[in-house]
Symmetry: C2
DNA sequence: TTTACATTATTACCACGGTAGTATTACCTT
DNA sequence: AAGGTAATACTACCGTGGTAATAATGTAAA
């Protein structure tokens, strides 16, 4: 198992995981194809990356008619949590509010988004 | 110049930058000492890292009585913004609300923090 | 059955973050 | 003047993300 460090996936690894999360499983070709519109990578690049990721325990594969079918070995939520925590820790001393404060004052945000945020927080407050 | 990729600083680099940002400038010894409680790193590790960071344009140094005095070449806000944007992009398709939604449902958050968030958002809404 | 094609295997690189030992230099103290 | 000390310079190494070319292999088509 080796409890892969989920707190830091590379950009490409993340993109690959996203494809896998969305489809539950996929062949190398499918992943490659899905990412093709976004990234111009060689087929073998994806294949290599997936193999490496399997080494890290991020994915696992089975064989079916000569093809490798990969599926995630870690949950998206888990990864998102670990990565978020790590990120917020490193940049905002772990304070979610500090991060939001910074984001609110620097990022472009629509009224809709603000309202969504407002609702979420209100909702969350109830659960306490 | 090379417009250093501010969107991705390593953990150690960030920690070093934080020291520099806080003090405006510092010698290798000061950085090393400041981080000592947290990290057990060789003096030369810090020195090397700072030299590498200077190569990337993150810091700059001047010499004073035989010592290198380093100062940041990039602003904390700028780095925080770039890194945040990159992070949110990679994990939440760029949606701040999506990130918050995830964070709110998985992270431990105190009532105080929630209220702080609430106020911030209300405040931010006014400015629109 | 030969050939083309799809797929994985093998191997190789590069960049960079991180880590640090050893060498050199220069200053300061006896 | 010799020797200690503090600082930087140089060099080296490892892990890993990313990228991919080439080789091998098996399958399907002609």
């Amino acid at each position: 198992m080796s409890k892969t460090r989920l707190n830091q996936l590379g950009d490409l690894q993340l993109k690959i995981m996203k494809v896998l999360w969305e489809r539950s499983e996929a062949t190398v070709a499918e992943v490659h194809e899905t990412l093709a519109r976004e990234l111009d990578l060689a087929y073998t690049t994806i294949a290599t990356m997936l193999r490496k990721m399997e080494g890290r325990g991020l994915v696992k594969h089975r064989v079916e008619e000569r093809k490798f079918i990969y599926r995630p070995q870690v949950k998206e939520d888990e990864v998102a949590s670990k990565m978020s925590a790590h990120f917020i820790e490193g940049l905002f001393e772990g304070s979610l509010a500090d991060m939001m404060s910074h984001l609110l004052s620097t990022q472009e945000i629509s009224r809709e988004e603000l309202e969504r945020l407002e609702k979420m927080i209100a909702e969350r407050k109830k659960k306490l």
